[in-house]
Symmetry: C2
Subunit: 238 residues, 2 copies
């Protein structure tokens, strides 16, 4: 191996950890993209701000990603990499439940991702791996091919949709949700209030009792899993 001129002591290639600006590479760009998008949201996420965060000229990024769309696709695949794969050995129901909670947690940690998950680009390798594991869990548990497709479609739609609902309602805790509900109620004009009695009832109750997204998600998830269980037999030949 040729000896190269380095201004620092040889540390076995680990010198990047200390250096102010390590040499850029695609993985570093994608990771920084996830961190930035988490911090500022998808609207504030621009090639220029990401470059600034990395201490680099905007055009330097284009040496490592073809364009912004490919950058976003790569970031989405990093989110997929965080999701627990279902393991048929644990039983299909606990395995699917765990995966669903894990996927939702990923979408909550990275709120910008849900709008890009099914984006136009080719699915990433982690996405393929994840769905292969999901389908494998179902097939190995005795689900028919068609049923496995139904279950995948049903569960993922629920998870995506729930994350989408939660993404844009900006409160996190039950207390915050109560305050938000109160604000919404107070924001409704008086004449409208009279026209939407049922809505007002719910908003008022939620303002008093709060709303827990985690509980709500898992309540719905259990309805789905029980529904899948109940109809498993009748779908066997479908």
């Amino acid at each position: 191996m040729a000896h190269r001129p380095v201004p620092q002591a040889d540390d076995g290639g680990q010198q990047d950890a200390v250096r102010r600006r390590p040499r850029l590479n695609q993985a570093a760009v994608l990771r920084a993209g996830v961190v930035l998008a988490d911090a500022v949201g998808i609207d504030g996420f621009t090639m220029r701000t990401l470059a600034q965060e990395l201490g680099v000229a905007p055009m330097a990024l284009y040496k490592h990603v073809a364009n912004k769309q490919e950058l976003l696709d790569g970031m989405v695949d990093l989110v997929w990499a965080e999701v627990t794969e279902p393991d048929a050995a644990r039983g299909w129901k606990p395995a699917l439940r765990e995966r669903a909670v894990s996927l939702r947690n990923g979408l909550v940690r990275h709120r910008w991702a849900v709008g890009l998950m099914e984006a136009h680009g080719r699915p990433g390798l982690e996405n393929l791996k994840q769905h292969n594991a999901l389908l494998g869990c179902l097939r190995e548990s005795g689900f028919s091919f068609r049923t496995a497709v139904h279950v995948t479609s049903l569960l993922d739609a629920y998870i995506y949709g729930f994350a989408l609902q939660q993404k844009t309602l900006s409160f996190e805790t039950p207390e915050e949700s109560g305050q938000a509900a109160a604000a919404t109620r107070d924001g409704i004009p008086d004449d409208a209030a009279a026209r939407y009695p049922y809505l007002l009832e719910v908003v008022g109750e939620l303002a008093a009792e709060g709303y827990d997204y985690d509980v709500e998600f898992e309540t719905g998830l259990d309805v789905l899993l029980d529904g899948i269980d109940a109809l498993r037999a009748s779908w066997r030949n479908g």
Copy 2:
């Protein structure tokens, strides 16, 4: 009323129907926005292209909407206006089913809408009216307050998520879906193919049999409705 100089014969205020460019108003701007977004998608939808479509300078729009976000909020509310309201008199299950299909149809007609439905802005009046009707249908059918919230959350999450999955997969018919699946399969590298056997099985089967979104949606919807039915009693006191 002062007599004004008009280059056309007096037609009792109905002259707009014939004129090339009728006087702009907010409703006309919103309607044109929906048509344009349907045609070009949300990426191609800009204030400038909408103004051009209306034969007007870009800044003319700002006399009728405060900014782009408010314009989008108004467009979303026009989509809500297309959704059938559930009628408890028909029985809660058929009523909810019809509303779910109607909402999904609206989201398919206007694919740009799903990403904006739960957007940060204040919900529109049609949105409020729609959710008031949904909650009213459930309460009048004997659902408890808490259960009505669960059901609303569950159903809407599924509908949104399904529309989101469908939005970005660009094929419409079962035949197209088969072709798309074949393309995806052929796009997977050989070594990856060996690593994702279950995924390949599904993609291959779908390429052969096709995939019908309408059937898939209603299959999952019936699982949800049956699950809600089954657990209705146990939720009574929840």
